[in-house]
């Protein structure tokens, strides 16, 4: 399988993947460092002749409609939306991991009546597209059985993210629980642990590589979520960066450097996260005994 033809084909494939995934990012970075005039120049300039941080300055510091050419920014709103996204991702993921780890262990390991049915039901909810329930979801959040409306609150969004993503997380961790040897936790039971203690002290550490991988998937999913927050948020109280970016698209004209700058900045936290957890995941997979 190491004939020259095969190696060239592999090289081409790898290059294609790199161009496909990094190309848009590079174009975004290049655009964000250009002026609106350069973006509109014909022929297209892939690399700006006069790189400038003006777009970032405008995005974070605020600008008027006039100068930015159709795009209005306001000091503090973009950072606020990044903050909202970070909070939503972190809090939702924490809860999802707690629930999914326990649920996966329960259906994967403990023998109880209807365990299989519980799993099937949980996984079954993944088939239902969010669009089907979006109207009733809005209604429930607007008039919850107890307490004030949850529309335009981070709490409301977190609840929806937990509900929509826990089944996937549970399923991923369930497959891991099934592959895990039972003996270490049995040893822990004999060593003096209750079921719960054995779970916390032995099973969860055993699952840590899977939990880290699922954590990464969940955080990235929440960070990239668009439709749900678009429908359920109105103000900067809860609006995440994905929704905020759309505000930089002007009605008649759009300042592409500012839009690109927002995109680049929004990309940095998940990219860092993926890098950090990627190292941890591969490290744990390689080192697991």
């Amino acid at each position: 399988m190491t004939s020259p033809g095969w190696r060239i084909a592999k090289l081409v494939a790898v290059l294609a993947i790199i161009v496909w995934s990094l190309g848009p990012i590079l174009i975004g970075v290049s655009t964000s460092l250009s002026t609106q005039r350069e973006v509109n120049a014909i022929p297209t300039r892939w690399v700006p002749h006069h790189p400038t941080l003006q777009a970032y300055h405008d995005l974070l510091g605020g600008t008027s409609n006039q100068r930015a050419g159709g795009t209005v920014t306001e000091a503090g709103t973009f950072t606020r939306s990044i903050y909202n996204s970070a909070i939503l991702s972190a809090v939702s993921t924490s809860f999802i991991l707690i629930f999914a780890t326990m649920a996966a262990y329960a259906v994967g390991r403990l023998r109880f009546r209807l365990g299989g049915a519980v799993l099937a039901l949980l996984v079954g909810t993944m088939i239902v597209p969010i669009f089907v329930v979006v109207v009733s979801l809005f209604k429930v959040l607007a008039e919850p059985p107890v307490g004030p409306s949850l529309i335009d609150t981070k709490g409301g969004l977190v609840l929806v993210f937990i509900a929509t993503l826990t089944p996937l997380a549970t399923w991923l961790l369930y497959t891991q629980v099934r592959e895990m040897p039972t003996e270490p936790e049995e040893a822990a039971l004999i060593d003096g642990c209750s079921r719960w203690k054995a779970f916390v002290r032995i099973v969860v550490p055993q699952m840590s590589s899977g939990i880290a991988a699922v954590a990464a998937i969940m955080m990235l999913s929440v960070w990239g979520e668009f439709l749900i927050p678009l429908l359920l948020t109105q103000t900067m109280n809860a609006k995440p960066v994905t929704v905020q970016i759309t505000e930089y698209v002007g009605k008649y004209t759009t300042n592409y450097p500012i839009l690109a700058a927002a995109g680049v900045l929004a990309l940095i936290p998940p990219a860092l996260l993926a890098l950090a957890l990627n190292k941890r995941i591969t490290g744990m997979l390689a080192g697991s005994s």
Partner: protein, 370 residues
């Protein structure tokens, strides 16, 4: 250390869903300081029995007592036992020291005492240099030692071991056999040891319990089960190579009695006096058992004509596979002979058996006839 503590199983039965009876009315008692081996082919229920003693598997019927305390329905942590698993079951995220200390921490033992006990066990097992390593940095034998160490620091009322040597290579296995016995003698806690390997059972056990299809076949010292197996199953299971079991007949003879096996006829004048149970089998079929080492080539005893099918030299001895004359073509006798026995593959020859050392079993029930 003085030996105290017992493990008692009283009519213990385990039914699995779907009607499988894994363990059927098993009763045995491990005496203070005793090393008892539970042995049998895979699926015989030995591991299930051990797991019931550990509390990892609920008991369907019967009672389990450890140190005269009824533990049948207690969770594992309240039974004061330690168990060594086949795949070691170490806590992968903890160092060797923490693996060994874990049970003591759970028992809220003072830190000084934990340190003292772990250090002591580490010295006993030669683990002192490895205390700060993680399990994945250890070899199989070292992991096995850590699993042992984790069990002994607890100073439990009883030890349970589930095939602890079967993941090790042959040389290490022999080494660890001695080590486990040494440690167990020192701790002097009653030990129930499960294995499918009859060599382990014979070399390690003070007593051996042989299980088949969930039923206890025989319980006795290694010599007892070897010399006086209660049935054909035990006879065939214990001993390596296995006992030869052949269809044979008993006939009245002018001298008293003769055994016909294949084309051979072995005179056994005093057989019926020595084994009164055989009187009822005159003229009837029996199953004849011959230990491989009871064959000889020196001309003493009954004679059987054979063709040498295959020879395996072990250096110290010769294992010969012999096709006896006048029997089904695929019947092969296994014989352990002296290395200087002059045999060649494919040649016809004559081997001797000591009639006094033969075993007889009922062909239907397999029960030993003595």
């Amino acid at each position: 250390m003085t030996a105290t503590g017992t493990i008692t199983l009283e009519s213990v039965t385990k039914h699995f869903p779907g009607g499988v009876v894994a363990v059927d009315d098993l009763s045995l008692e491990v005496q203070p300081g005793e090393f008892m081996v539970l042995v049998g082919p895979s699926g015989c229920g030995k591991t299930t029995a051990l797991r019931m003693v550990a509390g990892l598997e609920p008991v369907t019927e019967g009672q389990i007592r450890i140190n005269d305390r009824v533990v049948t329905r207690l969770p594992p942590r309240d039974r004061d036992i330690a168990m060594v698993f086949q795949n070691y079951a170490l806590y992968a995220h903890m160092t060797v020291r923490n693996n060994m200390a874990f049970g003591l921490k759970m028992a809220r033992m003072p830190k000084d005492e934990i340190r003292r006990r772990v250090d002591e066990a580490a010295v006993m097992l030669g683990l002192t240099e490895l205390l700060n390593r993680k399990p994945r940095q250890l070899s199989g034998g070292q992991r096995q030692r850590v699993a042992m160490g984790r069990a002994i620091v607890r100073e439990p009322s009883a030890f349970l071991m589930d095939e602890p040597l079967s993941n090790l290579d042959a040389k290490l296995r022999v080494e660890m056999r001695g080590e486990i016995i040494r440690v167990q003698r020192r701790i002097a806690a009653p030990t129930l040891y499960v294995t499918h390997d009859q060599t382990e059972a014979m070399t390690m056990g003070d007593r051996v319990a042989i299980l088949r299809d969930g039923l206890l076949q025989q319980l006795g010292t290694p010599d007892q089960v070897y010399d006086r197996p209660v049935n054909a199953f035990v006879a065939g299971f214990i001993g390596s190579p296995s006992m030869n079991l052949l269809p044979a007949g008993l006939e009245a003879d002018v001298d008293g009695c003769a055994i016909s096996v294949g084309g051979a006829r072995l005179a056994a004048p005093r057989l019926l006096e020595q084994r009164p149970a055989l009187r009822g089998y005159l003229g009837k079929p029996v199953t004849l058992g011959i230990r491989p080492e009871d064959f000889g080539t020196d001309g003493d005893g009954g004679e059987i004509d054979v063709t040498v099918a295959r020879l395996e030299s072990l250096g110290s001895e010769l294992v010969a596979y012999l096709a006896p004359a006048g029997m089904a073509a695929d019947t092969l006798l296994t014989a352990r002979l002296e290395r200087r026995a002059a045999l060649t593959e494919g040649s016809a020859t004559r081997v001797n058996v000591d009639v006094e050392r033969l075993y007889f079993f009922d062909p239907e029930s397999g029960a030993a006839l003595t």
